[in-house]
Assembly symmetry: C2
Homo-oligomer: 298 residues x 2
Amino acid sequence: MKKIIECVPNFSEGRDPGRIDKIVEPFRGKTDVKLLNYQHDENHNRMVVTVIGEPDALKEAIISAIGAAIDVIDLMKHEGQHPRMGAVDVVPFIPIKNVTMDEAIEFSKEVAENVSRKYNLPVFLYEKSATRPERQNLADIRKGQFEGMDEKLRLPEWKPDFGPSKVHPTAGATAIGARMPLIAFNLNLDTNNLEVADSIAKKVRHIGGGLRYCKAIGVNLKDQGIVQVSMNMTDFTKTSLYTAFELIRIEARRFGASIVGSEIIGLVPLEALVDTAIYYLGMENFSMNQVLEYRIME
Amino acid sequence: MKKIIECVPNFSEGRDPGRIDKIVEPFRGKTDVKLLNYQHDENHNRMVVTVIGEPDALKEAIISAIGAAIDVIDLMKHEGQHPRMGAVDVVPFIPIKNVTMDEAIEFSKEVAENVSRKYNLPVFLYEKSATRPERQNLADIRKGQFEGMDEKLRLPEWKPDFGPSKVHPTAGATAIGARMPLIAFNLNLDTNNLEVADSIAKKVRHIGGGLRYCKAIGVNLKDQGIVQVSMNMTDFTKTSLYTAFELIRIEARRFGASIVGSEIIGLVPLEALVDTAIYYLGMENFSMNQVLEYRIME
């Protein structure tokens, strides 16, 4: 594959194996499309798919998968813990190889236009594709969820970017856009005091005055008797993993706490780990072209 | 490419562009063979090629390149700073993807047998392919160099593994074998005292009582006014980059010196850098399958 875009669509179905299979099917057995992973959760009643592909082949596959999800999911009957506004809740596209962010934005708009027309679906452009600042953040668009969406869509300021100004009766509305790769990075602390994790999370995250591309919350890991600072690193090229790690280490001192471990959930771009190795080993003039596997991929 | 072997042959020609081109030519424009790099040095009068390939295609290409080197190089007329015993001095094979070390050893023996027969060349198996312990180390095999090789080859203990027991009149002798990827890792210190770098190198390297898979020497970087501990990490899966880094940091304290920078020369396997990131971020249960590019390569 010369050009690679990653897509991580979230579908509001995490329970019925038959339906799950129908949604995932368009990603299987295609030239230039590779299904990397799909995870579904009973409690959330939601599925996250990770797929990569050449732009043209990926576009065809995601349009089919969105059609399949609209066919099999009825949000009128949907319940689950995770907030959602659509059968296809959100469709992010991430530029991976030989694709610029501008090209990924353009690509996301083409997909959005196509599915809004084909399935009569209201679509919001979000993140880097957003047409106004208040639509960058998915949480702002999704506020009110499926149940409140019909009323919201009639407001002039919430007119969808594509498709009708009313919800799809069974599929709701969908957000589509381009974004940087997101890294789910969690740090465990040697305390069972959730307030400690919460305080640190507030200090390190962007909205609290912390790092620009870091979202964070405190989480209680009851079965392990410890707490965790759970982060989404939204642009590792600007806010490094090691920066968040070192800042949390420093902040934890205030509470006499220490980092006792960490984890990355799901996939991580090679460059984020290389960036970390370069920092700790103090490497000068290191180039990604020195990574053997990177050269093999060329 | 389903299976990948890397080859880093060293040729005793670093000056004549026409000859260099003839030696490198068999690696160009082949399906399933990829020339990653070639560097030649006037002072050393030597060239190091880095190439990867599927076993069958790589075998054909390296046999041709060895033939080309024997055609164009005459060691009777060769001078250069680097020790050498052959026109094709050494040919290491490194298992990279879906190839075991045992398979790489078998592969190296097939190439050795073939070129010894085809070019009437004495060949020693070295490193993991060595047939006796005193032939593991290239320096031991090469001792005496081209000029002393004819006498050495007549000794029963230095009978070559393949080919005649006398030097090739213009191409000398060659060492061929399988080995782990080698990482050239250098750490700079904030002192201009070469004795400090030498003392640290002696302490950290295997023969001095240090790390099992680490070779090290002190080097004077005169133009920068500092010294360097220059290392070859010969099995990063067992002796990690960060282990050498931390050990040198600790040892440097004895002299009131600090590490002020580092560099990796040439290529490095992805896993060596990921291993380093995992250590410093304290990551638990991280799998190489979480590296996006690793999945794309599958």
